[in-house]
């Protein structure tokens, strides 16, 4: 019988308490020395064939017959009141089927507002009207024929301008709101008494996700049921959002996401595009597609907030004695803020600490979670500041970190970590990069006289422990093949593959006999594929479901073979007993048609423990002091994330995180024109995501790879976000080591490096 239990989970730095439904007992962790057949083995992706042949079906590839195309008229102004909309000319264009805007659209609640078309549009790109037409070109032409009367209002798009007194007030209580605060000890006093104090300001620019598949939905209302294909990290959240907006019961909404072209946090739930496509489909009775263009993706589908961070850090007697961190983040029109002080609060056992995180509203596109939201920005500031302090104190920055990184207790919540091997990460990383070669100051000559070489490092902390709710079922067919069903998504991380591995391993069948069905709200509930939680949340549920199916299969085999169940084992799809082997298909073939169904749900985490992942990245760089160009020669990434389920996909995940971090560190930056509020580089030409040519000469990936015995029944934690967190700070620290110049603004563009070199007087 299912029962309700209290649960406590971490999601992207925040702790949530909830009631969850669980059934039965959790499985114990595998005994030490267990010989796995699939877990911990490198396996090719089970969906590789689909992906390399072009057969993998993404939302963009869904073309139901009779489908209409949507294009949206977006505000050209950063802030304006929509006074009048005239669609007469657009309606007359042949092929235009329907137009929606604030004066005719049904109310459809979205993120606390009553409608998707607002009276006051608040950023360049805000939705004003939508056209559904027979083809895309007609819809685009119709947009040009819509006349809108805008009343322009004063706007502000820049973070530091929005904080200031001269900015227009966008919210009744101002543009700045306190979002998070933490205090322990007496930071003020500690800083006053410190022998060394670093008091500096860091900045990070706005980074845009640029998932290659843009946001999009294909919605079909058949008079009874709404079916929505959506490029999403959480089909169930899209269903919830559609229910709220359209007032339909869950039973009448089905959201599907088979293959997904990247999300990186931005596709966490329903979007206006999903609601607009659904509204049209329900009005017109035809399938409707709305897939964003690249430009729309870049102006309206989310971003990593730009931040301004003040850091005061003090040291005495070879230790960090006090730390004050204040952060302001430009959330645009977002309703929440990612917390850059998260790592400050939790990474080191610094006794005297105070932190504050402010949310700043502007007339810019909303933030969306972006792979370790807040932590990437905050770690850049924190880990740069620690190096600056170490430099001032004349101590090795790694030695200084070690003194504060060994604690087995979470310094913020006071609970013990379930497991922690951060010092081990330092040891491995230092050996791999050759930390002993690092010269205390000035670096060494690089490959030419004007090139300086240096080494730096930084630490990461993140959640990734996962938790309930997450459910799975395992169906075993009469031929011994298996269908594993769960509502999670594979956003490119390898979820299909590792879940198949976990299932095959526990059940005792061959990997190729397991088919994984996911990305469907008609499946058992699966959580959002974000927060590095999919493996640790869904994996344990899959294992329980597989065990349940195995017990039933062995029971059936016992009946067929007339042998006690206790004497039977299932190995590689074969029922093994003393001296005899019978394939599962043979056993099940002897009984009439049947489906054996195993069920599993994720059990709660131990509420007395803090579940975290740890890691350290080391960087070796060369800096051309004439041009300011940084060449990253080597990144060493060491992670402590519990047991590794698939070393191949884990390694890929780390390399990918490092490369996305490289963009944040060196080249990626949204330019927003202050006067017009327009994004000047809403494309892949002028917004610089890393190319193959930007890959460092060497990326070394290492894992501690020890099961976290207290985390869950697999001992595994998440890896999606950890590898993007410390890279930028490691590079900035290496640049400072190489040149003596400290760049306090990410990305470290050539201009910023040259400026820092000039300030440091190190320009040769």
């Amino acid at each position: 019988m299912p029962r309700v239990v209290k649960s406590r989970e971490e999601f992207e730095g925040e702790i949530f308490e909830s009631l969850v439904l669980v059934e039965g007992k959790d499985l114990p962790l595998h005994a030490t020395g267990t010989e796995f057949t699939e877990i911990s083995k490198s396996r090719r992706r089970v969906d590789g064939m689909q992906r390399v042949t072009g057969r993998a079906r993404y939302t963009q590839d869904v073309y139901p017959p009779g489908m209409l195309y949507v294009r949206v008229l977006r505000s050209p102004y950063p802030r304006a009141r929509v006074r009048r909309i005239d669609t007469k000319k657009a309606e007359k264009l042949p092929g235009v089927r329907d137009i929606l805007h604030r004066f005719n659209a049904a109310k459809a609640a979205f993120r606390g507002e009553e409608t998707v078309f607002r009276e006051e549009v608040r950023f360049v790109g805000d939705e004003v009207a939508a056209v559904a037409a027979d083809d895309e070109q007609t819809a685009v032409e119709a947009l040009r024929l819509i006349e809108v009367d805008y009343e322009l209002l004063p706007h502000v798009v820049d973070l530091e301008e929005a904080i200031g007194d001269m900015a227009p007030r966008l919210e009744t209580d101002g543009n700045v709101a306190e979002a998070a605060t933490h205090k322990r000890g007496d930071a003020k006093r500690a800083l006053k008494e410190a022998d060394f104090v670093v008091d500096v300001t860091y900045r990070t620019s706005t980074q845009i996700h640029n998932s290659l598949e843009t946001h999009g939905a294909v919605a079909t209302w058949d008079g009874e049921q709404l079916t929505v294909y959506e490029s999403t990290q959480h089909t169930f959240a899209v269903r919830q959002g559609l229910r709220t907006a359209l007032k339909l019961p869950f039973s009448k909404i089905r959201v599907l996401c088979d293959y997904m072209g990247g999300g990186f946090g931005s596709k966490g739930g329903v979007g206006k595009h999903s609601i607009i496509a659904s509204l049209f489909s329900m009005r017109l009775g035809r399938p409707v597609r709305y897939v964003l263009t690249r430009e729309e993706e870049n102006i309206a589908a989310g971003n990593r907030s730009a931040t301004l961070q003040q850091m005061r850090i003090g040291g005495k007697g070879g230790r960090i004695t006090g730390l004050e961190h204040i952060s302001w983040a430009n959330v645009g029109q977002g309703k929440w803020v990612a917390n850059p002080t998260g790592p400050t609060n939790t990474l080191y056992d610094i006794a005297n600490l105070s932190s504050k995180s402010y949310k700043v509203v502007t007339n810019a596109g909303s933030l969306a979670a972006f792979r370790a939201p807040g932590y990437v920005e905050g770690t850049f500031a924190l880990e740069s500041a620690i190096d600056e302090l170490a430099e001032k104190m004349g101590v090795d920055p790694l030695v200084l970190r070690r003194k504060h990184a060994a604690s087995p207790k979470d310094p913020m919540v006071g609970k013990r970590y379930s497991d922690k091997h951060l010092i081990e990460c330092y040891r491995i990383g230092a050996a791999e990069i050759g930390w002993t070669r690092r010269r205390k100051s000035g670096g060494i000559r690089g490959s030419a006289p004007h090139r300086r070489r240096g080494i730096g490092m930084a630490t990461q902390i993140w959640g990734g422990g996962g938790g309930p709710p997450a459910y799975a079922t395992v169906h075993v067919n009469p031929d011994g093949t298996v269908v594993l069903t769960t509502g999670t998504q594979d956003i490119g991380t390898g979820t299909r593959t590792i879940l198949a591995q976990i299932c095959a391993d526990e059940l005792g069948v061959e990997l190729e006999d397991v088919q994984v069905r996911l990305g469907d709200t008609d499946n058992p509930y699966g959580p959002i594929s974000a927060g590095s939680l999919t493996t640790a949340s869904v994996g344990p549920a899959v294992r329980i479901a597989a065990r349940d199916a195995k017990e039933q299969l062995l029971g059936a085999a016992a009946g067929v073979l007339e042998t006690p169940k206790a004497e039977l084992r299932l190995e590689g799809g074969v029922v093994v007993t003393k001296g005899a082997r019978a394939p599962l298909s043979e056993i099940l073939g002897k009984v009439d048609n049947n489906t054996v169904i195993g069920k599993g749900g994720r059990h709660p985490n131990n509420p007395e423990l803090s579940l975290r992942t740890f890691g350290a990245h080391f960087a070796e760089v060369e800096v051309d002091v004439r041009t300011g160009e940084i060449t990253v020669e080597h990144i060493v990434a060491v992670h402590d994330i519990g047991r590794i389920i698939n070393p191949t996909t884990a390694r890929s995940q780390v390399e990918g995180g490092v490369l996305q971090a490289l963009g944040f560190a060196l080249t990626e930056e949204r330019f927003l024109d202050r006067a017009t509020g327009r994004v000047m580089n809403a494309n892949l030409e002028n917004y610089k995501v890393p190319t193959v040519k930007d890959v460092p000469a060497k990326i070394t990936v290492k894992f501690v790879d020890r099961p976290d015995r207290k985390a869950n029944n697999l001992g595994a934690k998440g890896l999606g976000e950890p590898p993007i967190i410390p890279t930028a700070a490691a590079i900035a620290n290496a640049v400072a080591n190489a040149t003596g110049a400290r760049v306090r603004h990410a990305p470290l563009t050539r201009a910023r490096v040259l400026e820092a070199l000039a300030i440091a007087g190190a320009r040769s």
Binding site: V52, R294, G656, L684
Partner: protein
């Protein structure tokens, strides 16, 4: 040949088969492949020639299909990701991508593969640098580049 104004018939050879599609002058080859011929393996990412996801081969050369008008392809041989496996056997580049784990979300993968297919036809033993040059115009946001380079080099070795 004089054409238009308006949509005209265009004869193409797509993955070895002759097809005729009706295309407006501004219709891109990418939209023609995806929407007229249901060959959705070729992806639309930027639609303005900056990312390489829509790479196909025209007479053996890798081309951004979003920057190519369908009407400009009259009589040309076009190869897409759907057409490179022969007789149920994956192309060596496809096999190499699976073996090297050279994709994550997979959205750039068809374009990456087509760029490397063109490379290995001319150059049976590409170096890492050769592969990098071949896919320099193919963005991958997941950062699978190290494995893509590996796959390209290995695909050369397999041939």
């Amino acid at each position: 040949m004089l054409r238009g104004p308006g949509a005209t018939d265009v004869a193409l050879v797509v993955n070895g088969e002759s097809v005729t599609v009706r295309a407006a002058p501004r219709r891109t080859l990418l939209d023609t492949l995806r929407e007229n011929l249901a060959l959705t393996g070729t992806k639309k990412v930027c639609d303005e020639g900056t990312c390489g996801a829509c790479t196909v081969l025209i007479d053996g050369r890798p081309v951004y299909s979003c920057m190519t008008f369908a009407v400009a392809c009259e009589g040309k041989a076009i190869e897409t990701i759907e057409g490179i496996a022969k007789d149920g056997e994956l192309h060596p580049v496809q096999r190499a991508f699976i073996d090297a784990d050279a994709f994550q979300c997979g959205f750039c993968t068809p374009g990456q593969i087509m760029s490397i297919v063109a490379l290995v036809r001319d150059n049976a033993g590409p170096t890492e640098d050769d592969v990098r040059r071949a896919v320099a115009g193919n963005l991958c946001r997941c950062g699978a580049y190290p494995n893509i380079v590996k796959a390209g080099v290995n695909a050369g070795k397999r041939r």
